[in-house]
């Protein structure tokens, strides 16, 4: 399905709703990860409202595409997107991180079985996605029609497990595997290139036998071109390195690593965040 202007407008409004929910959830929960969740809102909107083959009414549909969130800490974006896609009520979002909530601080399938994996500890999501793709290949050959998406952070590329996975997927030529790296250049302690330089990142992935596509992670047409192109590559897995702005949508917080792992808590910051996402009363 092509991405016309009307669809882009729809995705923009979905992304705005997702951002609004993320901000409200985190303010209510008083803890959680803001920057990455906001930065990935456009990609979540694109995947759930355009690219993914899925059925919110039947989460265990056998022929669904799989989406694995490897960097589980940005789960407010996943939960908000799933709620807006009608997997569960939007009102449930405000239970994030509460005792007994289905929306655990990091995703846990015991509580929310419609998740593909539990996650939080970094560096293992891509491997699990590869395992799913390999199982699919054993069962259905190389043309099952299912696609396997893994959302990852750039910071988690510090993990050795990530590179073990990248090496294996290249060898296995998993053409229906698409990794999307949130290249927001921040991690908890600072900017990625100061903490543990990842560049030249494109060359690294390419040398591990992946098809690499860089995109602006806030440009739906750009993201769509990369995903569409990935579907035409038949001898390699694809990684989309999505350049995103951490805390995208709250200009005052944008680009600052300090917002990686906290929500707005002071009255001023709460006001700034709510106004930026278009909420004038809480």
């Amino acid at each position: 399905m092509s991405l016309n202007q009307d669809k882009i407008h729809l995705l923009e409004s979905r992304a705005a709703a997702i951002r609004r929910s993320i901000v409200l959830m985190l303010i209510e929960a008083k803890s959680g990860h803001l920057a990455g969740a906001l930065g990935m809102a456009d990609i979540f909107a694109y995947l759930y409202f355009h690219a993914l083959k899925h059925d919110p009414k039947k989460p265990d549909w056998e022929y669904r595409d799989r989406l694995v969130l490897s960097n589980g800490h940005i789960c407010p974006a996943l939960y908000a997107t799933m709620a807006h896609a009608e997997y569960f009520p939007v009102s449930e979002l405000l239970t994030l991180r509460r005792f007994g909530s289905r929306l655990q601080g990091h995703p846990h399938r015991d509580f929310l079985p419609m998740l593909e994996t539990s996650s939080g500890p970094l560096g293992s999501g891509l491997s699990q996605t590869i395992g799913m793709a390999l199982a699919d290949r054993i069962d259905s050959g190389r043309s099952s029609g299912r696609r396997f998406y893994c959302l990852m952070s750039d910071g988690e590329l510090d993990e050795g497990n990530s590179w073990e996975a990248i090496m294996l997927a290249g060898r296995e030529k998993l053409h229906n595997l698409i990794a999307i790296v949130d290249r927001n250049n921040i991690q908890i302690d600072g900017n990625t290139e100061d903490i543990m330089p990842l560049n030249p990142l494109v060359e690294k992935w390419r040398s591990f036998k992946w098809h690499v596509h860089e995109v602006n992670g806030h440009d739906f047409a750009d993201i769509d071109r990369a995903v569409t192109e990935a579907h035409t590559i038949h001898d390699k897995p694809t990684v989309i390195i999505a350049h995103t702005i951490p805390s995208k949508g709250i200009p005052k917080f944008e680009g600052k690593f300090e917002w990686h792992g906290k929500p707005p808590t002071t009255p001023d910051d709460i006001k700034t965040a709510l106004r930026a996402v278009g909420v004038h009363t809480i």
Binding site: R109, T117, S124, Q128, G131, A135, E164, A165, M167, L168
Partner: protein, 351 residues
């Protein structure tokens, strides 16, 4: 006497007792499991021949994945396959898997609740000449602390085969611990095996006699149950063979002894352990593993709560192994027959 209903190897006490490798048992078991269930797959971290996975690889090439020397990827890829309906067996040495990849096992297997079967070979000091770096002495502790994990330590090659076949039929995360060397065959093809079931493999005297009545006199007044044995020995893995040799010696000396093969450490067969404690009043646990957190600890956790009796722990005491022959290392680490024998006498005095 060997417990007749278990149909154990009648030649167990012969100097010419047949030896076999647990890895061979595993290799046969996974081929059988793979034949019975097409969802059984195997992944190996560059140790295919050592883990005896070559037969599975040859028979089911499409269901075998070579992972290279990457144990973290080994288990996490298996987790994804298990989430998609497969029953993955992952093979490496226990120091690396479940040693190096413990957090991935915790999160992607147990927390995710998927049926990955972790097979760790080269466990214990009996690994021998490779040295301490390759002798996993902590793996039972690492695995039994994890919620949902089943922990199986077979006593010989035949039990390793049966454990593999049985593990393939459950939906639980499972750890199977294997030794490197060929070891004495204690069981036979006819010996029953069930995950979670401890077995009495030795019981001195089949009918109540003189020795039995002597035990009765020793029974303390607060014990409502009759004490039927002087001593219980609980062993796991290859240590069971040495426990049996000691039990025979003690029996020849007039003691009444029961020996339990505790091949499943988790879930623990509490009923069998409590019964043994009630009937013997004193226990020795024997394992080729650190005392801290091992099988003996599991037994003690159970008995302290339900029926405290004196226990002597035979295991590795807070140290690493080194190069040597298995026999040298078993003696050096104080887990040999003489150590078990001395512990048996010590614990009987503590009654």
């Amino acid at each position: 006497m060997l417990y007749s209903s278990l149909k154990l190897n009648p030649d167990i006490f012969s100097p010419e007792v047949e030896l076999a490798s647990m890895r061979t048992g595993f290799g046969e078991g996974i081929v059988n499991a793979g034949t019975a269930d097409k969802n059984v797959v195997a992944l190996c971290a560059d140790l295919t021949e050592s883990l005896q996975l070559d037969k599975f690889k040859k028979k089911f090439p499409e269901r075998f994945i070579e992972m290279g020397v990457a144990e973290q990827n080994l288990v996490t890829v298996a987790s994804g396959m298990a989430a998609s309906g497969k029953i993955p067996f992952i093979g490496s040495y226990a120091v690396f898997s479940p040693g190096r990849n413990w957090e991935q096992i915790r999160t992607t297997v147990c927390y995710n609740d998927v049926p990955v079967k972790i097979v760790g070979s080269h466990a214990g000091v009996t690994v021998g000449p490779d040295g301490g770096s390759h002798q996993a002495l902590e793996d039972i502790a690492l695995m039994r602390v994890l919620p949902r994990m089943t922990v199986i330590v077979p006593c010989d090659a035949i039990e390793a085969r049966k454990a593999t076949e049985a593990a393939a039929k459950t939906v639980s995360p499972t750890y199977i611990r294997l030794a490197r060397d060929k070891t004495a065959l204690i069981t036979t093809d006819e010996t029953p095996f069930e995950i979670g079931k401890a077995q009495i493999v030795w019981k001195s005297g089949s009918t109540p006699g003189k020795k039995q009545s002597r035990s009765l006199k020793l029974a303390t007044s607060h014990q409502s149950l009759v004490t039927k044995s002087d001593l219980g020995i609980i062993a796991t893995g290859t240590s069971l063979y040495r426990a049996l040799l000691v039990a025979k010696r003690l029996t020849d000396e007039g003691k009444s002894v029961q020996v339990v093969n505790l091949s499943t450490i988790k879930p623990l067969d509490e009923r069998a352990i409590i019964k043994l404690a009630q009937e013997s009043g004193a226990l020795v646990t024997v394992e080729d593993h650190e005392i801290a957190g091992g099988m003996g600890s599991a037994v003690a956790e159970c008995l302290v709560k339900h029926f405290p009796v004196p226990i002597e722990f035979i295991g590795i005491n807070d140290r690493f192994g080194q190069s040597g022959t298995p026999e040298q290392l078993i003696a050096n680490c104080h887990i040999d027959e003489q150590d078990i024998y001395s512990a048996a006498h010590r614990v009987m005095l503590r009654k």
